[in-house]
């Protein structure tokens, strides 16, 4: 039954079946019925051609004509790649590290005094 579910899910999703699943579908009435019902859709989709717009002749030239009037694009610096941002982040990290060390030392020192140690 698991194999049927797996096979039928694939058929319904329009995915290609493995050789093993194809063999199974051919011999299983339930899967064969699903294959039949979706094969009509797939065949119709294959030949389905709504009045599609065509790429007009010279379309790329036209686009390039518009592009020629534009400035050359310039790679935008990512916010984290900007020098001032990097400086701020580095300084903040250093400050944080100094504060943590100081906080740690203060706590050790205060705990020592509280336990009767000599400051």
């Amino acid at each position: 039954m698991d194999r049927c579910n797996e096979t039928q899910e694939k058929i319904a999703a329009g995915q290609a079946l493995s050789a093993e699943q194809q063999a199974h579908a051919a011999g299983c009435a339930s899967c064969a019925a699903v294959v039949a019902s979706y094969s009509l859709l797939d065949a119709t989709l294959e030949t389905f051609a709504p009045a599609m717009p065509e790429v007009p002749r010279g379309f790329a030239d036209r686009v390039m004509g518009l592009v020629a009037r534009e400035d050359l694009p310039v790679r935008a610096a990512r916010w984290f790649e900007r020098r001032p941002i990097q400086l701020v982040v580095a300084n903040a990290a250093a400050l944080c590290a100094v504060f943590n060390v100081a906080w740690f030392l203060v706590r050790v020192f205060v705990a020592d005094v509280a336990m009767g140690g000599t400051p």
């Binding site: 999703a13 009509l40 009045a51 717009p53 036209r62 686009v63 592009v67 694009p73």
Partner: protein, 179 residues
């Protein structure tokens, strides 16, 4: 030459490299817009706008975040959605004239084939927008399902589920009238 290489060329000052990107993506882009129901003039206009928008924003394109094709179709999808909203549905072309190509092997009668194509067209037009867009994006060979998910801004599982539901609705519409 892959897309990222061409983008680097353009950013380095080689404007002509953009022509290769246009030539590479113009056909799938027109196909996508056509499947969404845009007629020739509207599709041309939207495709042109898409490429121009892509060119202007090329400096902000980050290949570490998305593939170029994903980025391009995301822009096209947004422009198409804006255009559709602007047109307030009444100017929307619901996949008007349907021209069946070669008949499927199961149906020899061209009239039957044409009738099926007409029904399929109506069923596609009746799909909810989200299902239709996802389904059509999945029909474009340039995009994998992961990329469709990136364009749609949803999870891969959602894309699979939408394709599944779209196919089920289309299948039901065909089978229902066939019986």
């Amino acid at each position: 030459m892959d897309d990222e290489f061409l983008v680097r060329q353009i950013l380095g000052g080689n404007r002509e490299a953009f022509r290769l990107l246009v030539l590479r993506y113009q056909r799938p882009l027109f196909r996508f817009l056509g499947l969404l129901g845009f007629a020739q003039d509207a599709a041309e206009d939207l495709a042109q706008q898409t490429f121009l928008r892509v060119y202007r924003a090329l400096g902000s394109f980050d290949p570490r975040q998305a593939k170029f094709s994903t980025w391009l179709f995301t822009i096209a999808k947004r422009l198409a959605a804006n255009e559709r909203q602007r047109a307030h549905h009444h100017r929307e072309q619901p996949l008007g004239d349907v021209v069946p190509q070669q008949p499927p092997s199961t149906a020899a009668d061209p009239a039957v084939t044409a009738e099926r194509a007409r029904r399929l067209s109506a069923a596609i037009a009746a799909l909810p927008d989200a299902l239709r867009t996802t389904f059509f994006l999945s029909q474009i060979n340039e995009l994998t399902l992961d990329e469709v998910a990136a364009v749609e801004g949803c999870a891969l599982g959602t894309v699979k589920s939408r394709i599944h539901r779209a196919r089920e609705q289309l299948r039901a519409a065909l089978v229902e009238e066939e019986t």
